[in-house]
Amino acid sequence: MRTKALLLTAAVGAVGIASSMAQAVYSVNIVGYVNKTLPSGLSMVANQLNATPNNRVTTLIPTPTGALSVSKFVPATGNFVSATFDTDAGWDDPTSMVLNPGQGAFVDNPNPPMPVTFVGEVQLNSTVNIHSGLDIYSSVLPQAGDLNAIGFPAIPSGQQMALFKFNGTAFSNFSYDEEAGGWQPAIPTVAIGESFFIDNGANPTLPWTRNFTVGP
């Protein structure tokens, strides 16, 4: 999968010089796009930009080039809810599915690899609550790398955690256990636009907080 992410504009705008005291007012945000190719078959996808006017799946991928289904996990039921796109009928989205940064979903593309582009604003300050039990998560920021590189929180002593990445055919399992020396068999790495399952067992909620600043 070829993923290209380019943060286009660090719109650091000096709106104006306010007064003779030379106090500057800045409007600071980051907008950009992420090009992602959805492989044939199943993949776990994340939207890591806040789109306009919302992050509904029908906004993020308004016109797929072929049939597509997006399935989001519902921890309370342990099942998926789906939004499906049909080239004749358009989107069928009974749950008004939203895919915010930090969340993720299974995408099923029955066609050849399909390029999609996510456009929007980077969420600079965020907290994703990794609750007890199983759910799908992603990095709020469009960053690739291992869990340390994407600012994943330290797991409290004595707690275990499991992370599952989907490799196209099956899950790659990663388990965290302090007495095993940390993540096994290795610290997980994630790509931009990729989501993954985490099972936080019966542990308390673990906040994953990111604060990212740009500008002066």
Partner: protein, 216 residues
Amino acid sequence: MKKLFAVAILGLTAVSGWAQGTVTFQNGGLTFTPVANRYVYASEPIGPGDATDAARRLTGTNYTAGLWYVPGAGSTLLNNGRGGVQAANSITTSASLFNFRAPTTTDANKGTWVPIGGNSFVLQGINVGESATLQVRVWDYITFGRTEAGYLAALAAGGGVGFSAPFDYTVPAAGSTPDKYYLNNLRAFALVVPEPSTIALGVLGAASLLFLRRRK
């Protein structure tokens, strides 16, 4: 209709590319369904699996756990703790054993093994959608050796060994959630404590040896 189509695709895509079944070999730190006691105990009785019985759960890095299986659900071939095929770790593609924890571990982790090197085990010959009967076996590998022969020697000696009741497992389809790969049907079990008559026989044997040595 479209939703059904999408769900079918989600369930069936990539099945063909995932021939061998896998299972997540871990008995703690995960969100199992249903909630049940899956701990290993050093001795009977098996408690409720809460803080009240933590002291009786198995600890000790001299103990190790492995997974054995036979094709088909409901098999009775493993009933006496013998037979079956040892499951291999999906990363090392070899037989794999996980040791238990030091007694200083937290109460929640007592009675669980430490997954080192990847907790995804392959069930050779058990394909997606097919079932197998599994059994967890635990023994003192320092005393008896770290091979299946060591386990059988421990079993013959009648101490420092235990095995779970055989339980069914069906390999989930691609697109299933990770918890479907858990040892959900595993239930708590305890190591075998030698019968008093066995201990008495052992003492008698040792005394006989001592007596014979003195006569010489």
